[in-house]
């Protein structure tokens, strides 16, 4: 039999129907939903007199618009309250399981899926959220969908899909101290561009990837969409199995062994053919900081804000000019000379326990700079929050002057009241530095958790490697 990529294996295992000249019908194993993009799908279903076909494969959570402050207080935002009530009602009417904002297991959908063990190798997973690519870190085929597709999955548990092209990103070399998974994915986007992965499913491989923890692998896969790819995947291995064992929805005992035996068949066959192959060597990689308004506008922390005149393509040049104007930055400014007003450590990209541990080690015994108006730590889930508190991380952050919040999407998207004010500059561990993403007129610089933590202390970007990396690795 011909060699197959992991993507092809999972695709073939989920083929319900295929016909020439038509998209294939793919079965969906897990459908994750949240309050932001699902109400119209349920309304459409109801209008057409259709039912949720497999409520047992559908899991709902409140994350996008939830407050990260005191959740015992009433929800004052009428629109957000209506979203929560709609999700609550839709779940009760259709039998879909729900983690509401008061659940001890609540959190960002892409944090809690893996945490609960709902995310497993070899599964097809969809969610009305582009960062669904996160789950690919387990060797699942996971991608974001629109609301019409949510309705489609609710009604049929399938999706008509055209097969994607495949891209192998081979990351070689050993990650230097102070350089994290976030820096690797930013460097990848810098290399292939924000549309470099369009039409592709990316598989990340090589020692630069296999050396990463599951948390780091999720950070990498999470931002696949920022490179234009709908999905990113990493082959499951012993790191994956060890992380999964004992989670609430992961098989136990003999069944776990059987599952692992199956999972071991998933990785791409040796010599499997990819449509595109990209190599990235990371042994000299520096921490990355975005300077513009797409995740591809990124520089080494040791670098400077580029001159738009240096871009040869006129469309790119104009985009860079526009970005610098929006970001209020001058060409040639050293990255480490950029002062910041706020810091956000959180989001589905970087709010897992490992992220918080690393950031806490940077801030321990230090103080947030006086010039920094707000430094937020928003754990990705309540389970992460509880574990961090058990380890005393909350006390470290609070002693340093950070605010320690409840779990949710928060200032990554600003759908609750955690909004970046106009004209202010934020060092953020999130995934998008688009104009207005964190708040209208807000200026976002994407960085790793340790880089964000260090920027909070210094009041401007610093090269975390200068701080003695022994304490952060």
């Amino acid at each position: 039999m011909a060699t197959q990529t992991m993507y092809e294996k999972i695709w073939n295992a989920h083929l319900v129907h295929q016909e020439d000249g038509q998209p294939s019908l793919i079965y969906i194993d897990r459908h994750l939903i949240h309050e932001g993009t699902s109400p119209q799908a349920f309304a459409g279903l109801r209008a057409a007199g259709r039912k949720v076909r497999r409520p047992d494969l559908t899991f709902a959570v409140m994350d996008h618009s939830v407050s990260t402050k005191d959740r015992t207080l009433p929800v004052l935002d009428d629109n957000a309250r209506a979203q929560f009530e709609a999700l609550w009602r839709n779940c009760r009417e259709t039998g879909v399981r729900l983690f509401d904002m008061h659940s001890r297991n609540q959190g960002i959908v892409h944090i809690i899926g893996p945490e609960l063990g709902l995310t497993q190798p070899g599964l097809t997973i969809v969610c009305g959220d582009s960062h669904t690519s996160t789950h690919g870190a387990f060797g699942a085929l996971a991608f974001g969908i629109g609301t019409s597709e949510i309705e489609h999955v609710l009604a049929t548990q399938t999706l008509p899909q055209f097969k994607s092209k495949t891209m192998l990103i081979h990351v070689t070399g050993r990650r230097p101290p102070g350089v994290t998974a976030k820096d690797i994915i930013l460097a990848i986007i810098r290399k292939i561009g924000v549309a470099g992965g369009t039409g592709h499913v990316i598989e990340y491989a090589g020692e630069g990837i296999t050396d990463l923890s599951m948390e780091g692998r999720m950070t990498v896969c999470n931002m696949s969409i920022e490179a234009g790819a709908r999905a990113g995947m990493i082959a499951p291995d012993d790191t994956t199995y060890a992380w999964m064992e004992g989670r609430p929805f992961v098989p136990r005992g003999k069944d776990f062994q059987l599952a692992v035996d199956y999972w071991k068949t998933l990785p791409s066959d040796p010599g499997a053919r990819f449509d595109t192959v990209v190599e990235l060597e990371i042994s000299q990689l520096a921490p990355q900081v975005t300077w513009g308004t797409t995740p591809g506008m990124v520089a080494d922390v040791t670098g400077v804000v580029p001159d738009p005149a240096s871009f040869t393509d006129p469309v790119e040049r104009k985009a860079a000019e526009r970005a610098l104007q929006y970001m209020a930055l001058e060409p040639g400014t050293r990255i480490i000379d950029i002062s910041i007003d706020r810091v956000f450590i959180g989001s589905c990209t970087n709010s897992r326990l490992e992220d918080l541990r690393m950031a806490a080690r940077v801030v321990e015994g230090r103080r947030v700079a006086r010039t920094v108006k707000q430094a937020l730590v928003v754990p990705g889930s309540r389970v992460v929050k509880a574990q961090a508190e058990k380890e005393g991380l909350d006390r470290i952050f609070k002693a340093a002057g950070f605010e320690w919040r409840d779990a949710g999407c928060s200032m990554c998207i600003g759908m609750n009241d955690d909004v970046l004010p106009a004209g202010e500059r934020c060092a953020s561990t999130s995934n998008r530095n688009f104009e207005g993403r964190q708040g209208k007129g807000g200026r976002t610089h994407l960085v790793s958790p340790i880089m964000a933590a260090a920027a909070a202390i210094a009041g401007h970007f610093v090269d975390i490697r200068d701080w003695g990396v022994g304490q952060v690795e």
Partner: protein, 214 residues
């Protein structure tokens, strides 16, 4: 869904690359529960000054582009968030055709669910259309999906590629879900040999029908 066959309309230029869906419909409007009425929020932060006064600097606010139904733009249009609020806004504003060198995958897909025709053309042809749009006030194009052609009133004639199945669905305004349910027997057969119900081994704090029945 509204079928799409042939459309003639005014062209509006949006000469920006990587226009993301956050920019089309900002976060605060993603808290609404309907699919309708997003046109007035489209490109909100670019389009309005404080107090929702139209920003005269924004291309689409120029008098000559009022009533446009064909949007001409640059590469990677619709990148970022999967929010379908973006194509809802684009369609509700009055656009029926989008022309760009490339589109982001999720947005592209979402367009077809909402009767919008996204057309991909090579960079040189997009450049030429920008030139003509700026030069000729009231520049109009006729887009024929059946023939896969684009024509203006000065004799320009272009062709475009589109997947035959997407074309068929758009021409006929077909409901995807209805098409899929024709394969109900195959879905059921698949489910019988592919049991995927997750088994819960440990108590979690979750509302479920079982818990409600206790």
């Amino acid at each position: 869904m509204q079928p799409f066959r042939r459309h003639t309309g005014l062209v509006a230029p949006l000469d920006r690359v990587n226009v993301d869906t956050d920019q089309m419909i900002p976060k605060q409007f993603c808290k609404l529960l309907t699919r309708e009425g997003y046109g007035k929020f489209l490109f909100y932060d670019w389009r309005y000054l404080p107090g929702e006064k139209p920003n005269p600097e924004f291309e689409l606010n120029q008098p000559r582009y009022q009533g446009a139904s064909i949007l001409l733009t640059r590469a990677n249009f619709g990148c970022g968030s999967s929010r379908e609020h973006a194509p809802w806004g684009v369609a509700d504003y009055g656009f029926r055709v989008l022309i760009a060198p490339s589109f982001a995958d999720i947005f592209y897909n979402n367009c077809f669910k909402n009767g919008l025709l996204p057309i991909t053309l090579p960079d040189e042809q997009v450049d030429e259309l920008f030139r003509r749009t700026y030069t000729h006030e009231g520049y109009r194009l006729t887009v024929d999906l059946e023939q896969q052609t684009i024509a203006d009133e000065q004799g320009l004639a272009l062709t475009f590629e589109i997947d035959p199945f997407r074309k068929y669905c758009l021409l006929n305004g077909l409901d995807d879900i209805g098409l899929t349910l024709q394969h109900e027997d195959k879905i059921r057969a698949f489910e019988e040999k592919h049991p995927v119900t997750p088994v819960q081994y440990e108590e979690v704090d979750m509302w479920s029908p079982e818990r409600a029945a206790d």
